[in-house]
């Protein structure tokens, strides 16, 4: 390993890219929320874009703190952070601690501050994983260490899946696998693992998309619907053979409703074209076709793509 000089610790290009992204982000959060009459009338300190900048400040502070800290210190605390994250992931599943939103328990509400433990779990997992995997290649070759690494990953994965938050849970898998790969875990292990995971995923998808209702893996309806929408499967495909035309029509309507956000996001991105409509001139957001409550976070890419 090399010992970097203090000057080399900063990558100017990366910092510049980061600063650019932050400016763009704040600008489009502004654009996305200003179109909404309600949020435009909020006092300046409650506006989403101001909050965004406040979060930038907090984030920069935290980043600086982490940079200044010796990585050995970080390594020592990593497992503390990991188990704290696991604890909060368990806590969020307890009904009076985790709050229910849209049918899932993902948030812990401390009154003044709300957070998703899964977000912290991702970071804690990366720290703990890095610490665990920082060992000679010979040790990584031991099956026990391999399985420990897998366990490190699967524990938060299972807990987050239970919330349920499939999206956040799935992020852990490639992150963990790539870390193991880069750390030097033998390829044959990883290839086998990837093969098994891939096979499972393929079976899972095939089941969701093509299997008759009796053979379906039980899962949340919205998750199933999202997958069906993403892969463009027809809901009527799963209707019972005796379904009346009205029922089929109802299914088609439901599919249209479920696909609404995806469709509107595509219309935003597509209608913007290469040049875009100009900052603050996107109609999809201004007219409320993009869901208002989340246009400035979940759908910010659509807003950016439509306007620039």
């Amino acid at each position: 390993m090399f010992t970097p000089t203090p000057r080399e610790q900063f990558d100017r290009l990366q910092l510049a890219a980061l600063a650019g992204l932050m400016c763009l982000g704040a600008a489009f959060v502004f654009s996305a929320t200003m179109a909404n009459e309600y949020s435009a009338t909020l006092p300046w300190y409650s506006q989403s874009w101001v909050r965004q900048i406040v979060w930038y400040a907090i984030g920069i502070g935290a980043a600086a703190a982490v940079c200044v800290l010796d990585y050995n210190t970080l390594a020592r605390w990593s497992f503390v952070a990991y188990w704290a994250a696991i604890f909060s992931l368990v806590a969020v599943l307890v009904p009076f601690i985790g709050s229910m939103r849209f049918g899932a328990r993902r948030w812990i509400d401390l009154g003044f501050f709300q957070f998703q433990p899964s977000e912290f779990a991702k970071l804690a997992f990366i720290l703990a994983g890095a610490n665990f995997l920082s060992r000679p290649v010979d040790e990584l070759k031991l099956p026990l260490n391999f399985w420990k690494g897998i366990g490190l990953m699967l524990l938060p994965f299972a807990l987050i899946l239970k919330e349920p938050d499939l999206g956040s849970a799935l992020v852990l898998l490639p992150t963990g696998l790539v870390m193991m790969l880069v750390a030097g875990t033998p390829r044959k292990y990883l290839l086998r693992l990837a093969g098994v995971v891939g096979l499972l995923a393929a079976l899972f998808l095939a089941d969701i998309l093509f299997a008759p209702p009796r053979w379906q893996i039980p899962m949340q309806a919205y998750q199933r619907n999202r997958l069906l929408v993403y892969f463009g499967r027809d809901y009527t495909h799963f209707a019972s053979p005796t379904a009346t035309p009205a029922e089929l029509q109802h299914l088609r309507q439901r599919q249209l409703d479920d696909a609404y956000n995806v469709r509107q996001a595509l219309i935003s991105v597509g209608s913007g074209g290469l040049a875009g409509k100009g900052w603050g001139k996107g109609t999809q957001n201004a007219l409320g076709y993009l869901p208002r409550a989340v246009a400035h976070n979940d759908f910010i890419f659509s807003v950016i793509a439509e306007e620039e």
Binding site: L13, V178, L266, V269, G270, S271, G273, L274, L287, A305
Partner: protein, 661 residues
């Protein structure tokens, strides 16, 4: 630390990760390129269909004016009280949240009651039946909207002092189907209401006046048949967008000038596109094509003469008279008045339906142009002219015993028995004389001359109210034609039928020395805006259709005889006389037979032109079911000539007034 840097390092694993990441980014870029570049048009059109509504804007229909620019048909503004739904979004929403609050309270109460009854808290499954269904919530929203709208109407109602109620069903269907358009709550406000609204309803919340244009005919039923009528037209015109989200209709002329010049009067509809938000409320609008106003049609009609003709028919024969009057300028064929009775209101809905359906009255037909009538004796000048042209000596005497035999057929003659020359025969309308000279001249000569008058043919009026009339064809008179048929034609009966307009054209030709004109009804089509650079489309006056080619001397003989008809002591047309005007006329009375050959009534006529010295006007009066042409139609013609004389007298004054203006 960029991804590329990892490629340079000699670390197989990192390199692999970097390659995979780059590949992933490439896939995303291709996806973005696919959506934003390749499919951009498709998504743009999706965007347009979901967020734009097109509205058809009808053009202002052109006016119809008389020859002096007096308005016969125009557009009257009509003010509707409309609710602007997009301004009411906030009240709708707060109304809904209030209703929702009380609904939730009721729901809580119900659950509490149920739990009390059971003595335990309800399970999840049991709670389900207390859930507020989305249908119920939609119902609450609807109720909130109706309440808000009713509240506003109540306010307005108080301000304008007129009770107003919201038709909830109508309102809800408007909300569902035409959200981007204002809701018309009260149509056609009167002037008092408009003033009160403007003065008192100052906060203007959600309600305002909206202008609509309605076709209006300021002179009531005057020239109603000629003007025709319009109906709302719900079809797009050719050359327009075939699809509009909201189609604001314009008028379509159904008959009369409104129909004949429909495309000119109508103009071109414009197009407005309205940007709507995700809920369908109007956000902003943008007019794509301005509507092009229709053109004005300027008629040859003289409103004063038209009124005189109609009033005179009503005064002498009553409102149920089945009659017609045509007044024509003999110098150029301009139609100055064209009246038909019973009257027809160009505002179609204001006509009495029972009367419209009456098979005898038939107010909808234009009797001046649309109905075949036996001309009777007013056809005799044409027969006489044919005879004169064939060499008849006007002074030759025909003895009238009071009847005439044609073959074995006995035809009575109402003219007193005695000796008749041409002049006396016209004056007393002697059947024996005209049958005798007509037979001498022969049916060929009569039909040849009638052909030059273009009887039995349409004059190409733009009103779609024309019939051809009847005249025997050449083929007809050479197959199975008998003298008796000729005798009938000689006295204007049998196989001859005419319209009053055809008789006016014929008498104008006799008056003007032999020029048969195309009757003209419209002088020009001009842009509504006088400042428009577009040139008016003129229809030339005095377009000659045919020349009679008769000797002027013979016309002079005819004029003299027709003058005697009104001025000689023996004349049958004396009732038409107006002091200071020499009128050449001919009365006519045709017996009408039904299928069983029974007499059912008489068509009475007075056909004329004046002044004798220098003819300018032809006046034809026809009354169905009159007594005799002279006493029935003469007085009506008299009134019209009186109006003409008055006009001529005040013409100098008019010219002066015009120059002062």
């Amino acid at each position: 630390m960029l991804v590329f840097d990892e490629l340079k390092k000699n670390d197989a694993q990192l390199r692999l990760v970097a390659v995979v990441l780059l590949a992933g980014l490439l896939v995303l870029l291709i996806g973005l390129w696919w959506v934003q570049v390749v499919s951009a048009h498709e998504y743009q059109s999706h965007l347009e269909t979901q967020s734009y509504r097109t509205i058809r804007l009808p053009a202002v229909r052109g006016k119809i004016l008389d020859r002096d620019g007096r308005v016969l048909a125009e557009n009257r503004p009509r003010y509707n009280l409309s609710l602007y739904l997009d301004d009411l979004r906030q009240p709708f929403y707060s109304g809904y949240t209030n209703l929702l609050k009380s609904a939730r309270a009721v729901q809580k109460q119900n659950i509490a009651n149920a739990e009390k009854k059971l003595g335990r808290s309800l399970t999840k499954v049991e709670l389900k039946q207390f859930r507020l269904s989305s249908e119920y919530l939609e119902q609450l929203r609807q109720e909130a909207r109706v309440r808000v709208a009713s509240g506003i109407l109540a306010q307005v109602s108080e301000k304008i002092g007129q009770p107003l109620a919201l038709d909830a069903k109508n309102f809800n269907s408007h909300y569902a189907k035409k959200l981007a358009l204002p809701y018309p709550a009260l149509k056609n406000l009167n002037a008092t209401n408009i003033a009160r609204f403007e003065e008192n309803y100052t906060n203007r919340l959600g309600a305002d006046l909206e202008l609509e244009s309605v076709r209006s005919y300021p002179n009531g039923t005057a020239a109603g048949h000629l003007l025709g009528y319009v109906l709302r037209d719900d079809e797009a015109q050719s050359g327009e967008n075939s699809y509009f989200n909201y189609f604001l209709p314009d008028y379509r002329g159904m008959v009369g000038v409104e129909a004949g010049f429909d495309s000119e009067l109508r103009g071109r509809a414009g197009e407005e596109s309205v940007l709507v938000n995700s809920l369908g409320y109007r956000q902003s609008e943008n007019i794509g094509n301005q509507p092009e106003p229709g053109h004005n049609a300027v008629l040859t009609l003289d409103l004063d003469l038209q009124r005189a003709a109609e009033n005179s028919l009503a005064a002498h024969r009553g409102a149920d008279a089945r009659a017609a009057v045509v007044v024509m300028d003999v110098r150029n064929g301009d139609v100055l008045a064209l009246a038909s009775s019973p009257a027809f209101n160009p505002v179609y809905s204001e006509n009495d339906h029972a009367r419209m359906a009456d098979g005898t009255l038939r107010p909808a037909i234009n009797r001046a142009t649309q109905e075949n009538y036996a001309p009777g004796s007013i056809f005799k000048p044409i027969v006489g002219l044919a005879a004169l042209e064939s060499g008849l000596d006007p002074n030759a005497i025909v003895d009238n015993p009071g009847f005439v035999y044609v073959g074995r057929r006995h035809i009575t003659d109402l003219a007193r028995p005695g000796k008749y020359n041409f002049r006396r025969a016209i004056m007393d309308s002697c059947n024996t004389y005209f049958i005798t000279v007509g037979l001498q001249a022969g049916i060929d000569a009569i039909i040849r001359l009638a052909g030059k008058f273009h009887f039995g043919e349409r004059a190409g009026l733009p009103t779609r109210q024309e019939t051809t009339g009847d005249i025997p064809t050449r083929e007809r008179i050479h197959s199975g034609w008998r003298d008796g048929d000729t005798a009938n034609v000689c006295i204007g009966q049998g196989e001859v039928a005419v319209t009053p307009l055809q008789m006016a054209v014929a008498y104008a030709a006799i008056a003007n020395g032999g020029k048969v004109f195309w009757p003209r009804l419209v002088t020009r089509i001009e842009p509504q805006d006088p400042a428009s650079p577009e040139a008016p489309k003129n229809f030339p006056a005095g377009v000659i259709r045919d020349e009679l080619g008769v000797r002027p001397g013979n016309l002079k003989i005819l004029h003299d005889a027709m003058l005697a008809e009104t001025e000689d002591a023996e004349g049958t047309g004396k009732a038409a006389v107006v002091p200071g005007l020499h009128i050449c006329g001919k009365t006519g009375t045709a017996e009408i037979m039904d299928a069983q050959n029974r007499k059912t009534g008489r068509t009475t006529w007075f056909a004329s032109f004046a002044p004798y010295e220098n003819p300018r006007y032809a006046v034809v009066v026809m009354v169905e079911n009159g007594t005799f042409g002279g006493p029935t139609c003469g007085p009506i013609a008299h009134d019209i000539y009186e109006e003409i004389v008055n006009q001529e007298k005040s013409a100098a004054g008019k010219v002066l007034a015009a120059t002062l203006n």
